[in-house]
Symmetry: C2
Subunit: 316 residues, 2 copies
């Protein structure tokens, strides 16, 4: 397929073209750039939901339950999974795949998982491009599912209209992180596996953490779900819609979009610098410098001068 | 204090000078560079131990227990905490502070916590410099304590001679991550809070995860501890020493040091590029570009061209 055919196919919502467009964008050649440049102006209609949480909390199960809920309401949904431990990626939890099998022949559902790891991975670019493609393809809702840690969390906050944090009883990590101010405050908090002991205690801890770190304006709803049985899923979606309604009514939607895009563009710029560095770095020279630093002949900062100096002189 | 006095003080093991050197290095001015250049050749003697794990697993408690164990054996210890949720940082868990109060007047113990967050934080540089200073100051053992996630994990792997992963019953996250190949294989695995239900099950899961992802050569020991009571701490330290012995005997110590330094130098170079970008980026221009991208007049990649183009032209 030529870039033009891919663009045409995406705009017509054809699955093969959508998959091809994402692959082209990931390969970061001229074709990918051309496809993204053509598709970008055609997006802006999809509601982008970020779903974050620790591995095992039930992000994929909640996504699957939301897909069922939204399809029943006649809305189309795409899922982008950037969680490297997700069942969509490694098939570890077959149950989640099976739950989505219902939708494999449903053109109103599209699922894509992205491999990404390390600081050279280009996570921000790959995720941003996939979202833009699925948006241009006309999906009503696009869900980005990711482990809520470090750079992933920053990206999801930057790209999503509403961020849902999924917790489960028995792991207080996220609460500790919110209290310590390490974690961005999500827009909706779902306590999944709420049939397990400790769900009410966790809900209480979350409420108390939220008073410790008061957000200005929006206080996240705390929703109990048992996503595997579909319990609480309707309420979780209603909380997402309340957050969207609040953004519209408070007039903060534009500010949020601009802030998010500033952060996203900064991430993209850093990713490009990192990629340029990785491409230009001389492997033998890096080995020699590492040996000199380990051998205490050169200090690390001077070694970095040398690495970046080399890079610059090759550019010139 | 002049940089020369700071260097002299660090080499004499004086606490005030050590603290000052770390602060100078963090501020990244010429004085800090000079101090690091003078101290770097004087290090290389300390055993560097990385302790990683989720918040709440008991990293700080284990560190405190190791300090007691090592002090009793006549060895000096420094701790660098780069865990933003750590009690050393925010005082959330007073118990851990209290356990270390014994050592507040002990010149053989030094504790420093480093604030760090986000990709502009310069985590690699700050951590690497602190380790080098404490090494030059003559501490026998330097412990780096951090949340084992994302970039932090990469840095600890690059900088430490032995990496200890701390797990606790009731959180299988790390196992899932090891199985998925997302996590580097640690050198020693400690299952802390082993008096809690599920400790043996967790130990079994860990052993099984380790067979799924076979490391070439070194198979991590799995040690059960209850660090609060000091139980298993001696065994944990013995496992660290076994790993060191294996590195020496197998001749892989040099290779590991070089690999780690390559990764560390790459991180340092990226941090410097990120810092240069942050300093040079024009805020009003970034706002305008974000608005144009949100308004669909410019696609993100073209906006990044513009950001980096501006940067380059200001450089010239």
């Amino acid at each position: 397929m030529t870039p033009e055919q891919v663009v045409e196919g995406v705009l017509a919502g054809r699955r093969r073209a959508i998959g091809r467009a994402i692959t082209m964008a990931e390969s970061r050649g001229n074709d990918g750039r051309a496809v993204m440049r053509a598709l970008h102006p055609r997006g802006g209609h999809a509601l982008r939901i970020g779903i974050t949480g620790s591995p095992g909390a039930g992000k994929s199960t909640l996504s699957a339950a939301l897909v069922r809920h939204l399809r029943a309401a006649g809305r189309t949904v795409a899922i982008v999974s950037v969680d490297p431990t997700s069942p969509f990626t490694n098939g570890a939890v077959l149950g989640d795949r099976i739950r989505l099998v219902d939708h494999f022949l449903d053109d109103g559902v599209f699922i894509r998982s992205m491999a990404s790891r390390g600081h050279l991975g280009g996570l921000a670019e790959a995720t941003g491009d996939a979202l833009a493609i699925l948006d241009a393809a006309g999906f009503d809702v696009v869900i980005v599912e990711t482990v809520g840690a470090g750079q992933n969390e920053v990206e999801v906050q930057a790209l999503a209209h509403t961020v849902v944090l999924v917790l489960m009883p028995g792991s207080g990590d996220a609460i500790q992180a919110i209290k310590a101010g390490v974690m961005e405050i999500p827009d909706v908090i779902v306590i999944n596996k709420c049939d397990r002991p400790g769900a009410d205690i966790l809900a209480g801890e979350v409420e108390s953490a939220l008073t410790l770190v008061p957000p200005d304006g929006w206080v996240p709803s705390v929703i109990l779900t048992q996503a595997l049985e579909g319990q609480g899923v309707e309420e979780a979606w209603a909380a997402v819609e309340r957050h969207q309604e609040n953004l519209r009514q408070s007039g903060r939607a534009d500010e949020r979009a601009r802030d998010g895009m500033r952060r996203h563009l900064t991430s993209l710029a850093l990713e490009r610098l990192a990629r340029d560095l990785a491409e230009r770095i001389d492997d033998a020279r890096l080995d020699a410098l590492a040996d000199q630093v380990v051998g205490r002949q050169v200090d690390p900062a001077t070694a970095v001068d040398s690495i970046l100096g080399t890079t610059t002189s090759e550019e010139a």
